[in-house]
Amino acid sequence: MNSDGLKLNLDDDVKKIFFETFPLLTESDFDWEKTQNNYEDWDSFAQLNLITLTEAKFEINFSDDEITSINSAKSLLEITKSKL
């Protein structure tokens, strides 16, 4: 698989994590740039679920600073990408 293929898979996987963590999220509502403040149900426990699920799926660990900086699908994707 080429790097574009890998990128596409990673994008899909991270997006899937978002849809699993926020079950009320619809395809039309999803936006990579949309931040935590614009999600009604992105509270501190949702943040914990998001981080735990991403760590488990990719077998990686986030630092406290990284966890704090994750506030959108895009930031989660970028930080995850940097660890793979």
Binding site: T21, A46, N49, T52, A56
Partner: protein, 476 residues
């Protein structure tokens, strides 16, 4: 109030030639059993009344004779499970301070090297008849001593009086309708409260007790047919194994039983349904009890809506919920009654009581019809930002997933929430389930704060000598 020795003597008087005990190919009538017990106790009468005699035996007639011999001699029987670890064995012996440690031939190697002060070690076959003075225990005397399993802490010695045992035995008999017409199969260790209670009940009503050393499903099913058994007492995992893996054989063997009794507060509902489906007219039952408060409730599964309940309080026993720990009618279960222990052995630990109420450490609730439900342990509660979560709620959800054998949820420290959930998972053989599969399922089926923040796969769990998981060892 009776003393335990009366159970045998009364049944022997009523039906001397009836078979009391079957142990493999050996059969003992009540009068033969009584004679053997009297001979055995003649040896033990050399010890002062209230002396402790420790027993380490398999599930055999030798155990029954030794145990009743000790009771007859006015001594206290300290019952040791055969699966005990060497360190726990030494701990129990040091605490119980027996005058004699008795074992079967095959378990003598376990006691040979333990340190004993002012006492001896003997095999069953070393015990000879002596001429000695007959002794009579009093109802208020201790009859036996059992140590707690150590699921939550160090094993504690629980001495049980004759009167307390008499009370529980009569409650079992009345609630489950045991009678002299029964033939009771016992694939359980009698060194445990469940198995010992079954022995007492058989002796009390004068039924026939069939001992089964090996709790293998096919052996159990064959014994049921061979001896025309009417009641079966077994732990939930044995029953689940039987109905899951030996369904056709079970249909054939179990259908005529009048009673299947188990001892779990977490009896899989699928197993209950299958067993109920197999029995023609018989009943499936369980009870809730602690070593410190035997048979506090009984549950006869008549109603699918109550399948997760442990039933209603036994006659003469009061149970209440102390809601200080949780709320909404959920809280710690307190028990008061003649079945509750007075003190731990030699008061080595303070009994957790308030005005005769035993604080069990179990979390539970009553429904509107007065049925009790056990939800977990106080010690096991996970405090997530002030929300008290009992781990069994999470474990029940995760256990539904295929590919998982056992799962334990424990608290894990967290800088923002105080505690979060950590999950230990033992996978089934060849299972390919992974942490993200489990988390995805939890996110769908649990409130957010209950979703595990960490999942760790383990080969097995630390366990007590009774096979129970030591949760406290999994906590940070």
């Amino acid at each position: 109030m009776n003393t335990i020795d009366r159970f045998l003597t009364d049944s022997s008087k009523a039906n001397p030639e009836k078979i009391a005990l079957i142990d493999d190919d050996s059969k003992f009538t009540f009068s033969e059993l009584e004679e053997k017990v009297i001979k055995f106790s003649s040896f033990l009468n050399q010890f002062e009344e209230k002396s402790v005699i420790s027993l380490l035996f398999e599930n055999t007639s030798e155990f029954v004779i030794s145990y009743l011999g000790i009771i007859n001699s006015g001594c206290v029987a300290h019952l040791i499970p055969t699966g005990i670890s060497q360190s726990n064995l030494q701990h129990q012996i040091s605490s119980a301070q027996p005058k004699l440690v008795l074992s079967s031939e095959s378990y003598f190697y376990r006691i040979k090297d333990i340190e004993l002060k002012n006492s001896e070690k003997l095999k069953f076959s070393d015990v000879k008849e002596l001429s000695s003075k007959y002794k009579t225990p009093l109802p208020t005397d201790y009859a036996y001593l059992i140590y707690t399993s150590g699921t939550t802490s160090t094993p504690k010695g629980v001495p049980i009086t004759h009167s307390s045992c008499d009370f529980s035995t009569k409650n079992i008999t009345k609630t489950l309708h045991y009678s002299e017409n029964d033939i009771d199969l016992l694939p359980l260790q009698m060194s445990h409260s469940f198995g010992l209670g079954c022995l007492h009940t058989s002796l009390y009503v004068g039924s026939t007790l069939v001992l089964q050393k090996n709790p293998k499903p096919m052996d159990i099913l064959e014994s049921i047919k061979k001896h025309n058994v009417t009641t079966l007492a077994a732990i939930p995992s044995t029953l689940s194994n039987i109905v899951s893996n030996y369904y056709d054989d079970s249909l054939n063997s179990l259908s005529n039983l009048r009673l299947i009794i188990t001892n779990s507060t977490f009896f899989p509902s699928e197993t209950i349904r299958k067993l109920r489906g197999m029995l023609k007219t018989g009943i499936v039952a369980t009870y809730y009890g602690l070593t410190e408060a035997s048979r506090s409730t009984f549950m006869i599964f008549n109603d699918d809506n109550k399948i997760e309940s442990v039933g209603k309080p036994s006659d003469g026993i009061e149970i209440k919920i102390d809601t200080k720990i949780k709320n909404d009618h959920i809280g710690e279960i307190w028990i008061r009654g003649p079945n509750v222990l007075d003190n731990y052995w030699k008061k080595e630990y303070s009994e957790n009581k308030s005005n005769d109420w035993l604080k069990t450490g179990d979390i539970g609730k009553f429904d509107d019809d007065g049925f009790l439900y056990i939800l977990g342990r106080v010690d096991d509660l996970i405090n997530i930002s002030g929300e008290k979560v009992y781990p069994q709620e999470i474990e029940r959800i995760v256990k539904v997933l295929s590919g998982i054998d056992e799962v334990v949820a424990v608290p894990m420290k967290h800088k923002s929430f105080g505690e979060v959930v950590k999950l230990f998972v033992k996978k089934s053989v060849d299972s390919e389930i992974n942490a993200s599969d489990i988390l995805s399922y939890c996110i769908k089926n649990l409130e957010r704060f209950k979703v595990p923040a960490k999942i760790e796969f383990v080969e097995d769990f630390p366990r007590t000598d009774y096979g129970k998981i030591k949760r406290f060892m999994l906590k940070e």
